[in-house]
């Protein structure tokens, strides 16, 4: 799993992080078309993701630019349920490159 900036996340951040539109913008998970197909999901369906650090629910959308087994979640409270907190002596937790299990529809 990779987390990072999206235009939508940045836009909705300005309208307020307590707003519904911000929660929707950061409550998405982008997957490859192949993975969406393998999971038998339609775009917009809510799925469960698990890592060794936590569990999160997000709505699945396609990003054709993603490799088969890489998912992308906009930076924010949902992605942060999955990221690692070990900083390996640097202060930086693992916001990218976290192993997650995509468990399918809720």
């Amino acid at each position: 799993m990779i987390s990072g900036r999206t235009l939508e996340q940045a836009k909705e951040m300005h309208s307020g992080k307590n707003s519904k539109s911000y929660r929707e913008a950061v409550g998405k998970v982008y997957v490859s078309p192949l993975l969406l197909n393998e999971l038998g999901l339609a775009e917009g369906e809510k799925i469960v993701l698990k890592s060794s650090f936590g569990r999160a629910e997000a709505r699945a959308y396609v990003d054709p630019g993603l490799p088969h087994f890489v998912v992308f979640i906009p930076m924010g409270p949902v992605a942060n349920l999955l990221v690692g907190y070990e900083t390996e002596g640097t202060g930086m937790p693992s916001f990218k490159g976290v192993q997650v299990e995509v468990c399918g529809a809720c």
């Binding site: 990779i2 990072g4 900036r5 999206t6 235009l7 940045a10 836009k11 951040m13 300005h14 309208s15 307020g16 992080k17 307590n18 650090f53 936590g54 990003d63 054709p64 630019g65 993603l66 490799p67 890489v70 992308f72 930076m75 924010g76 409270p77 942060n80 349920l81 990221v83 690692g84 907190y85 900083t87 390996e88 002596g89 640097t90 202060g91 930086m92 937790p93 693992s94 916001f95 990218k96 490159g97």
Partner: protein, 424 residues
């Protein structure tokens, strides 16, 4: 009556675009020109009206809020001051003074951004340059693990890919653009060459490139999912360009290897300078995160993760950095300056934030502000508050205050809390 403010600096990201035009109706921004979508949001959504601070979610006077914040900090055994990156360097300076007075730890958002880059600089040095040099000279631009079209939307147009410069007069035509990333990002789609690296393979790829630059042959067909032939072509471009630059982002600092990835990148650039002129520049996120590093370095000798508990500054990434202090439950009070750790920290760190008293200074009521024991709604730097901010290349810019607001600045609130702490 409508008035125009020209050459306003946008403080959303480290580009600090200083050509923004605002149209004002009294003290309301009614039109924003030249800004990207992120800059538009920053200016258009800001309401400069004076708001009351809050103590435990309820409105309070400024005096009461200052007193409450001062008492929380004075009575804490181990406070942490965190954030600093979306405020002026003048406010950053006062926050270091406050940390010293409290014997606190102080850390900026650098630790969850380019902190690993700082560590790499301390090992290798910083092969840097200004964005002006890049605009006027660079004919090979490599974007590694960053997506400026989304996060620094005017970078291409103002500083790197598009502008015609003194020695690159045909703009885009004069420059070759290479993107290295795990994802086919929006930035990768407009590149001349895209190298889709396997997740977690950046370090290997950088080592392989350095070996090829040194003239070694590699006993491998591919490295990190990229064929040796493609790497050899890239190395040939790197060695034959007149002025090359690698811009790099969180794709290197947030993944496995962190500072080691950046150390290897800097070593590669150092090696390339035996052949041609080459530089590297981190894509800094927050508007004045570079200033946070600069101010901390002048005053403490270190750019982030500093502790004053012994009365002098000690440096400790991994020990005095915010995520570590929170996850280890070491601190008993948190002072957040212009940042939102509740929205952007791992959940284990956020769990501890929820358990301890927090003080938040922020123009907007962020998730951290919503939870705060004491919240101060302050002026926005560069909108209704003057100050200084450092661009991602380390160039300081003076921020104007085109809007005449009534809110106190971060610096003023920090000074008042500093005085309050001294009286406690």
């Amino acid at each position: 009556m409508l008035t125009k403010a020209k050459d306003v600096v946008c403080t959303f990201c480290g580009c600090l675009c200083d050509d923004i035009i605002l149209t004002l109706d009294e003290n309301r921004i009614v039109k924003v020109e030249r800004a990207c979508a992120n800059g538009m949001g920053l200016f258009k959504n800001y309401n400069p009206d004076l708001l009351s601070p809050k103590i435990r979610g309820k409105g309070a006077s400024w005096e009461k809020a200052i007193k409450e914040a001062s008492e929380i900090l004075s009575s804490a055994k181990y406070p942490l001051i965190y954030g600093l990156s979306s405020t002026s360097s003048e406010a950053q300076r006062v926050s270091v003074k406050l940390a010293e007075a409290l014997g606190a730890s102080i850390d900026s958002t650098s630790s969850v951004c380019h902190g690993p880059t700082g560590l790499a600089m301390q090992f290798v040095g910083e092969p840097t340059c200004t964005l002006g040099e890049i605009k006027n000279r660079a004919d090979l631009l490599i974007f590694w693990g960053c997506n400026p079209i989304v996060s620094h939307s005017r970078h291409f147009a103002r500083y790197s890919v598009m502008p015609s410069g003194r020695f690159v007069q045909d703009g885009r035509e004069s420059r070759k653009v290479v993107v290295v990333d795990v994802r086919l990002t929006q930035t990768a789609r407009v590149a001349d060459v895209f190298l889709q690296v396997k997740p977690g393979s950046d370090f290997e790829l950088l080592v392989a490139l350095k070996a090829l630059v040194k003239g070694k042959s590699l006993d491998a067909v591919e490295v990190g999912g990229i064929s040796i032939k493609v790497l050899e072509e890239l190395v040939s471009d790197m060695k034959s360009c007149r002025y090359g630059v690698i811009f790099f982002g969180m794709g290197l600092t947030m993944t496995k290897g962190r500072d080691l990835n950046v150390r290897e990148l800097f070593s590669l650039v150092k090696e390339l300078n035996d052949h041609t002129k080459f530089s590297a520049l981190p894509m800094r996120g927050h508007g004045n995160v570079t200033g946070a590093d600069q101010v901390m370095s002048w005053l403490c000798g270190y750019p982030f993760a500093v502790n004053f508990s012994r009365g002098y500054p000690r440096y400790g990434p991994g020990e005095f950095s915010a995520v570590d202090l929170l996850c280890n439950k070491e601190i008993d009070a948190l002072f957040v300056l212009a940042s939102d750790p509740v929205a952007h920290f791992p959940s284990k760190a956020v769990d501890h934030i929820m358990e301890i008293p927090t003080i938040v200074i922020d123009p907007a009521e962020s998730l951290s502000a919503k939870k705060a024991t004491v919240y101060f709604p302050t002026a926005m730097y560069g909108v209704d508050c003057e100050g200084t901010a450092y661009r991602m290349d380390g160039v300081p810019l003076r921020l104007k205050a085109p809007v005449k607001g009534n809110r106190p600045s971060d610096e003023e609130v920090l000074e008042a809390i500093f005085e309050g702490v001294r009286r406690c």
